[in-house]
Subunit: 326 residues, 2 copies
Amino acid sequence: MIKNKLTEISKPVKIELEEFQKLFKSSLKSNNSLVNLVTNYIIKQKGKKVRPALVLLSAKLCGEINERSYRGASLVELLHTATLVHDDVVDNADKRRGFPSINAIWKNKIAVLMGDYLLAKGLMISVEGEDFDFLKKITNTVKRMSEGELLQIQKTRKLDIDEETYFQIISDKTASLIETCCEIGALSNSDNIEYHNAMRSFGNSLGLAFQIKDDILDYEGSAKLFGKPIGGDIKEKKITLPLIYSLNQVSKDESARVRKLIKNNYKKDSVKEVIDFVNKNNGIDYSQKVAFDLGEKAKQALNIFPDSPVKKSLQNLVDFVLERNN
Amino acid sequence: MIKNKLTEISKPVKIELEEFQKLFKSSLKSNNSLVNLVTNYIIKQKGKKVRPALVLLSAKLCGEINERSYRGASLVELLHTATLVHDDVVDNADKRRGFPSINAIWKNKIAVLMGDYLLAKGLMISVEGEDFDFLKKITNTVKRMSEGELLQIQKTRKLDIDEETYFQIISDKTASLIETCCEIGALSNSDNIEYHNAMRSFGNSLGLAFQIKDDILDYEGSAKLFGKPIGGDIKEKKITLPLIYSLNQVSKDESARVRKLIKNNYKKDSVKEVIDFVNKNNGIDYSQKVAFDLGEKAKQALNIFPDSPVKKSLQNLVDFVLERNN
C-alpha cells in the first residue's frame, strides 16, 4: 500500500526515475566480482527510492532535470544504502526489506567494507562531476547524521531530554538527509537562491514531521494492526516528543515515577503503563499538532512556485507522511 | 624502538608535526560532549603519525609546507583513524595500540558512528578548503582500499591466487593510501607534474615493499622475539607472496598437498609444515628480493630532487621499512 502511494506521488518523475535506476545500476559496476554479487543483490531488492524521487521532484520543480540531478540522486541513494548496510551490522539485523541482510549472508567484514565502498562510490561520482556544492552539503550531512545519533545515545543514557534537545536530535539524524535531497535537487539546475532556500526549508520541515510521526506511531495501538510492535522506543529508553510533553504536564514526583518505570522496564506492564500515561496527558495529540504544523510549514515553503503536478506531488507527500499508519 | 626510529626519520618536519597535532586536535572539537570524550581518548593514544609525517615530508621536498599541506595531513590521519575504528568493530578487537579499543569501551554502535563522523570531518576540511584534487585522490583511495580487501576475502576463500592478483590486492588495500599521502603532499604546494608523478611512484613502491615485508614477517621465526605470533596469515588462509612463489616451484601434486594443509589447518603442525615448506623453497629469499627491488625503485623516484635532509629522511624510511623486525 505504501509502495502504491509512493508510486503515485513520484508519477511526475516516473520516466526519470527509470532512467536513474539504469544509471545507478551501471555506476555500481565494478571489476571485482564479489562487489558485483553484493551490489546486484542490493539492486534486486528495489528499495522505495524515496530519496532519489525527492531529488528529482525538487529538481523538476526548479527547472529541467539534467545530468547533475541524476548524479545528485545517485549520491543520496548510495549514501543512504551505505548507511543501511552499516546499520544492519551495528544492530545485528538479519533482515532488511524482508530479505536477509548483507551481514547475514556475507558476514560483518564484507558488510562494513561494502558500506565504505558504496559511500566512496557516491562521493566519487560527485567529485568526478565536479559537483562541489553537493559535496559540501553531503559531507556536512554525514557529520550531522552521526552527531544526531550520538547525541541521542548520550541523552538516552541519562533519560534526560527536553524539547529543544529532541529537535536538535531529529533535525540532525533524520531531517538533515531529507533536507539535503531537496536542496541538491534545486542546486542541480538553478542559481536562484530563493529556490535553494525554499527547498531546504521544505525538506527540513518534511523531515521533522516524518520523524515525529514515526515517534507517535511507536505509541499508537493501531500500528499493531500492521504488525509493527508498539512501545519499542520505551523499551530502548528513547524519550521522544509524546513523552517529553506528557512529563512536562505532571508534578515532579509523578514525572520521577514514570522515569523510574522506563529505567527499570523489566516489568511486563511498564511499557503499557507509560503508553497509558502519555495518552492520558495528551502527548499524542500534542505531537500530532506539532507534526501537522510542520507539514503546513513545509507546504508554505512551496508557495513561491507556481502550481504544477510536481508541486502537487510534493504537497501530497507531506500529507502521506502525516497520515501513514506504519 | 620503532617509535624512536620514526621520530628520527620525521625530524626535518618535527616543528610542523607539532603544529599539525595542534590543528588536528582543534579540528576535532565538536558541540557534542560524547564526541569530544571519544576524540580526546583517540588523541591521547598518540598514534605513530606515519601518514601525516609522509604528507609533510613530501610537501617539504616539493616546496614550502603551507595550509593545504596541513589540511592534507589532517585528511589522511582522519581517514586512517576512521578505518582503524571500523576495523576494530569488524574484527571484534578489544585493544588498539595497547589501549582498550573504542568498541570495547563504548560498544559497536558508537564506534561505527564515530568512524563515520571522523571520515565526514576529514572530507569536510578538504571541501571547505576547496582542495578538490585531494578529494579526487582520497575518494578513489577509499574505494580502492575496500575493493582490495574484498578481493582478498574473495580469493582467500578459493585459496587461488597468483602473483598478479597478489599485487593488485596489496596495491589497492595498502599501497593506495601511502601513495595518496605522498601525492597529496606534492599537490599541496607544487604545480610541477613531474613532482606529483615522482611522489606517487615513491609512495606506491614504498607501500608495496611495506606490505611484502609485513607478509614476510608472518613467516619469520625471529618475529617471535617481539611477541608477534607467526603463521597468522596461514591460519586465516591468506596466501601471500612467500607462499605463492614456493607453490610455483613444486610439482602439481606437491602444491595440492600444501594447499590441502592450509585448507584443513585444524592440525597443530600444519602451520609449521607450511612455514618449513616456504623456507625450503626460498619463498622468503625471493620475497625479500622483490621488496628490496621495490625499495630501490622508491629511492630512484626521488632522483629528480636535489639532496637534502628531507630526501635523506624519505630514503631512510625505505630502509627502515625493509629492515624492521616487527
